[in-house]
Amino acid sequence: MDDFISQLQSPAENVYGESDLILMKKAYINEKAAPELLEYQTDLLARLQDQVHNQEDTVANTDSTHAEGSLVRAIWRLELARAKHLLRAYLRTRLIKLERHVTAVLDNPAMQARLSPLELQYAKDYFVKTGLHLKDAVLAHMPEEFNSLVRQSNVSEGHDMLSAPNLEAHVFVRVLEDRGAVNLDPEGDDVVELNKDDLYIIRYEPIRDLLKDNWVELV
């Protein structure tokens, strides 16, 4: 029974291989499940958008007057709809997270580097617009010591009022490759054994780098 289950468990290993669509699906799931914004998948997005455009041209140029053409066209259309849905879901999820953590993202160059140029522009515009509104509606009426958008008061050291993602949040994670023992706590000795196909609920922070290097995926 395990033979066909292994086929079903991971579409990547099925007869059709790991297409960009499957990669995109995984990127979306990771993005949705991770507490922080992940790296923008520049290459993957570009490839997939390219493929979608080409496929749209093919559909437009296919003669659908005979039964065969109309069947194939219907299937192409259906797949295109699925691909576009996935692209939209991915980009929207990122924008939602970006809006929630916009101050923290703009405050940190390493986090800014994970955005696409368009997303960065969006973040800046969004920050300026919501910032102006908040200043107008609230901060203008506050005493001067407390009227900063990113600092709790004048005596704060640095920006201490950012809505940062909670890296200590727990996530569901599946192990893709045997990794062996991983220490979850730099000071203690809270060690877990990560073997292929294991499924854990685990704190995000210790597995952050493993996710980046494709040792694990979120579910």
Binding site: M1, E79, I201, I202, V219
Partner: protein
Amino acid sequence: MPVDPSFSPYDLEFFAEDDVVKIVPSFSLPTFSHSSIRCIGGAFGPFKPNIPVEVPLWLAVALQKRNNCRILQPDWLNTETLQEALDQEKNTAAVFHRLPFHYLEISKILFLHAKEAFGTDLLKVKELVGDICKVRLSKINAGLQVLQGPMTVKLNNLSAAECNVIRPFFQGALDRFHLLASVCLRLLP
């Protein structure tokens, strides 16, 4: 406010539709190379009348709706295998039996769009899937009761839908336990 990491049931069905099933096509595509359809996700086919072929579930359902194919009953979704799975599920309290990650979504889609694939077994198969699901959920609930304190929980072979069901509670509880533990550490060195 944390970003809600839960998926909707529609999301899960969408993900499940990439899994492959076997179909028997009733058409061919003589003017297309290898009688297959070149899509973004790969070249699906070859489609030849009465020759079984593996395609993603979304394609199988689309073809079936147009009466262009017959979906075959997956090997793991027949009465014997399911009965075996149910027995194992009942006999092992701590372990979950290995099922396809999207077993609930796939069976739901097939029960809806490919009733014919199951013939006279349809009711029996539905009942078995329902029973398996119930036994697993009660095991999950038992697992939740032993959750007391910050920890890493291992949940091998849990399916996508099951993860999604327990996500809000598990994550909330574990996040809170972790927070309390780290505050304790700071206060009582």
